[in-house]
Amino acid sequence: MKDQYINRKYLIGSIIIIAAAALLVRLFIIQVVEKTYRLSADNNVLRYVTQYPARGLIYDRNGKLLVYNQAAYDLMVVPAQVTRMDTAEFCRLLGITLPSFRERLRAAKTYSRRASSVFLKMIAAEDYARLQETLFKYPGFYVQPRTLRKYSRPIGAHLLGYVSEVDESLIRKDPYYKSGDYIGKLGIEEAYEKELRGKRGVKIFLMDVYSRVKGSYADGRLDTVAVQGQDIISTLDEDLQEYGELLMRNKTGSIVALEPQTGEVLALVSSPNYDPGLLVGRVRSENFSKLNSDTVFRPLFNRALQASYPPGSTFKPINGLIGLQEKVITPFTMFGCNRGYLFVSCHAHSSPLDLKGGIANSCNSYFCQTFRRILENPVYPSIGDAYMSWKRYLDQFGFGKKLGIELTNELPGLVPSTAYFDKYYGKNRWKALTVISMAIGQGELGTTPLQMANMLAAIANRGYYRVPHIVKSIGNSRPINEKYLKKNIIGIDSTNFESIIAGMEEAVNGTGTARVAALKDITVCGKTGTAQNPHGKDHSVFVAFAPKDHPRIAIAVYVENAGFGATYAAPVASLMIEKYLKGQITNKDMEDRILNLNLIGQ
């Protein structure tokens, strides 16, 4: 058959020739016609000076500056441009030894002879002024301005994180980063790296043979401008954070304070901690390995999200709430207590008690019997089903999973599944009594201080929480991730919260276990707890929110190896609440007692 389209071969051929001609014209223009790209014959060279953007600043919730930048300088070298020079004088100027000079130059040559690399990092501003005057005598060397982080107060190290130089493996993974760039590690610096870092720029300078800047190359048309990083407004209250760290000095433990309605973290203290200024500049790597190798106090370890404890009695409100929602108890259900229930003992208090009294007096018997009714609820075909239903409520409260705060290394904690018991005791071989210790927050349960503070926020809100987060807004207007704005509904009717909250109110303000936390003019609702510690003295725990109506703060305090919750954790929480709501402390004696308390023996 005759090919009617055969002439189209000419069309295709023409397209190819026209395209090639277009390329040639373009290449002719940039290679032959246009003179700006040409470097003249006397070996002129270009110098690429990276324009590092200033990293975004970090503010607290009231607009107080937490983290800012200070100037520092990197001394750069282009080995191919280095000529004969007075090396001894140069070393004196920089305060380095001759062998160190040779080693640095060799390293730079290995990287590249013609590209510039860092010769000496982070020279302080004073030294720079001295260096600048004589630098012209040393061709091939020039100074590159950088910035270092600076902290207005030595607080919040775990939250803020730090900034370090990118390593090789990261450069390979993420094409944005180039050798010598900074990157945020841990805390806000890591979580909001993309927003904080800004955009790098580059200026191209034309240099003559003597390595003198002759001017901007191609009139700066090929330069790119650095764009400053965006500022971050964090949810922290600087004063409260500082006060929390002060209270926790010489103690091991943590404090998490949240604003209940929004889930905003007001303070997050993990003790022992460190001055964030230690991880800045040339001293960073040395200090970091020191902090990292401290296996006794583990200052880098963020207990507030990385330590999982059995919640102890602070868990009782949850079992009360689930009992009410599952309709196995009412606020008026009375349980007797004769210094304990079966093999779980209890302390002396009046008996029998209703739900409110059970919470206020932290009666073990009351919650063992409640928990038993939850697990033996005839509505469910088996104890496994009843248990899974109970576990679902815990899941709604955010237990047994990461809540999703921006910080890395958050622990999920532990709520065992039925499979765990099946494996441990054998299928159908376990009953309510086998796992009864979970009624009082012991046994296999593990929760983090952050999860406990979040639980208190959910109780304060009477049935919902917002995921705890540490950043309020980015730049002037950019909103935060939607997941932090979403209401997480627990699935427990708000009316069921009233008797529980009344019990927590009485624990603090009436005849209960936490009277030490009571404040004038502020109705604190709280619950003491003792987290069992197989390695030593138990941990003192207290969770609370205040005021009772329209709560503004929910808090969890852990003081390790300090015994009962009422002893140390409750006063710390009480002081924090007063500090946040009133701005000043009335009970100076209690404050002094806590400040002078030393539980780590140093």
Binding site: A22, L24, S112, R114
Partner: protein, 474 residues
């Protein structure tokens, strides 16, 4: 043996010579791009030129295999090969190694394979096989759509990786359809749409609308060769614009200038159409419809871009077009690339004498931006030589394709031509700043095993088909 020997005797020598010349030049330029004084051994496996040396040896073996394979194999197994490669493109989305946010690579031991590069010849075989039976029906919508689907399917899978650059390559296969009888109107409209899409995003919308209208009047004059109707048309449009501006001032108050222009063009069209109808000036009607179509398209692109696309999608396109530079260093790379090529001047700086390319400032120096080294060290003469090599190869391949007796072989040949052509044009165009940054390799030059092997298979299957063109009428 004797048959194999005769195959070698009949294989097109010129194409093979150009192929060999290109891979040798490619290797020399990769060596120059990564050259530094510390590593000078040719077989240094820690360096890219060392690895590329091994890829080249392997590609020669692959070429031999492609040639000794019976040509009927390619015909009968076309769809199987195509299906297998599509499967790999799906699998790579799940099993691929995440490099720079894209899943394009299989990691097998220390070897990374990019199925995209192999999908090109698989798709070509399938397209040739499909059109072989139906090429005379290409003006039928169903056949046209099926043929398009054959190469859009892999393109879609590649977009999902996401690798926009490689997906663009498949659009070149419209050239094959053009050769095989697709209506040139479809082709011109397609090209126009792509060009307008890019222009819309790059240029001010008002200028673009105005430019299109001026272009339409120019075309109208070109067709009728009379001043009167064209001037009358311009007058009508001006009146319409003035009227619309007045209406906007009095009633709408918020119309943008380009919206006024657009509505005016539409309104004055009513007046024109009476004229077109009375004078039976069909060509003018076509020009007018083209104009309105373009205006609608331009304005909808702008709307889609600003209102429908999500910010990150927008950003990706903006980076692709070089409108937004330096987020991942694309704009920066182009600047560096232009400096390198431009600094080469007429005769170049000489082999291994390039200074710009040694700065390690362009990360894709030996892959997508290999042409920088050519431009800097060999100058305009070198650029001319490389471009000439491609033009000679492509024209030679057209000649070979046209002498095939089977439709299958010819169509496959045009697939090879189209794919090599778009890689050549887009890659050098990107490196010289003529086209937006679309990261695709320069065939036979760029560093990378998968690309080299993919192009080699693509080319040598065709050379084999050509060598045995007299034996079977597959």
């Amino acid at each position: 043996m004797t048959r194999n020997a005769s195959i070698w005797a009949r294989i097109d020598k010129l194409s093979v010579v150009i192929f060999l010349l290109m891979i040798v030049m490619g290797w020399l330029n990769i060596y120059a791009a990564v050259y530094n004084e510390e590593h000078t051994r040719i077989l240094d496996m820690s360096q890219r030129y060392g690895k590329q040396f091994v890829w080249i040896i392997a590609t020669l073996v692959i070429a031999v295999f492609a040639v000794v394979t019976d040509s009927r194999f390619y015909f009968f197994f076309a769809y199987f090969i195509y299906g297998g490669l599509l499967l790999l493109l799906v699998l790579v989305l799940f099993l691929g190694k995440d490099i720079n946010g894209a899943r394009s690579w299989f990691q097998i031991g220390s070897l990374n394979l990019q199925p995209t590069e192999f999908a090109k010849f698989g798709t070509s075989l399938a397209l040739a096989s499909y059109l072989n039976a139906r090429r005379h029906d290409l003006r039928k919508l169903s056949v046209f759509l099926t043929a398009t689907a054959i190469f859009m399917l892999p393109a879609l899978l590649i977009i999902m990786q996401p690798d926009m650059g490689s997906a663009v390559v498949f659009f070149a296969l419209f050239l094959v359809l053009l050769r095989e009888g697709m209506s040139p109107f479809v082709f011109i409209s397609g090209v126009l749409m792509v060009v307008l899409f890019f222009f819309t995003l790059i240029f001010n919308n008002l200028y673009l609308n105005g430019g299109l209208i001026i272009l339409a009047f120019a075309a109208a004059w070109f067709v009728v060769r009379k001043w009167k109707p064209v001037l009358a048309g311009i007058l009508i449009l001006i009146v319409a614009i003035l009227a619309m501006t007045l209406v906007n001032k009095l009633i709408f108050k918020s119309m943008s200038d380009e919206r006024i222009l657009f509505v005016s063009a539409l309104l004055s069209g009513a007046a024109y159409s009476i004229y077109f109808y009375s004078r039976k000036a069909l060509q003018l009607l076509v020009i007018y419809l083209f104009l309105i179509g373009s205006l609608v398209f331009v304005n909808s692109v702008d709307f889609t871009f600003n209102h429908i696309l999500k910010p990150h999608q927008k950003e990706r396109i903006e980076i692709l077009l070089g409108m937004k530079s330096d987020l991942h260093g694309t704009g920066y790379n182009v600047n560096q690339s232009i400096i390198s090529i431009g600094s080469g001047g007429f005769a170049g700086k000489g082999y291994l004498q390039g200074t710009q390319t040694k700065f390690k400032f362009v990360p894709a120096q030996s892959t997508d931006f290999i042409f920088c080294t050519v431009g800097e060290e060999w100058g305009f003469l070198g650029s001319l030589f490389v471009i000439a090599l491609y033009v000679v190869l492509l024209l030679r391949l057209i000649m070979l394709a046209e002498r095939q007796r089977s439709d299958f072989s010819r169509i496959y040949g045009y697939c090879v031509i189209s794919i090599l052509f778009i890689h050549f044009f887009v890659n050098i165009g990107m490196a010289s700043g003529l086209l937006p940054v679309i990261g695709i390799p320069l065939p036979f030059f760029s560093y990378g095993g998968s690309a080299l092997w993919g192009f080699t298979i693509l080319l040598f299957i065709f050379l084999r088909l050509d060598a045995s063109r007299t034996e079977y009428l597959v």
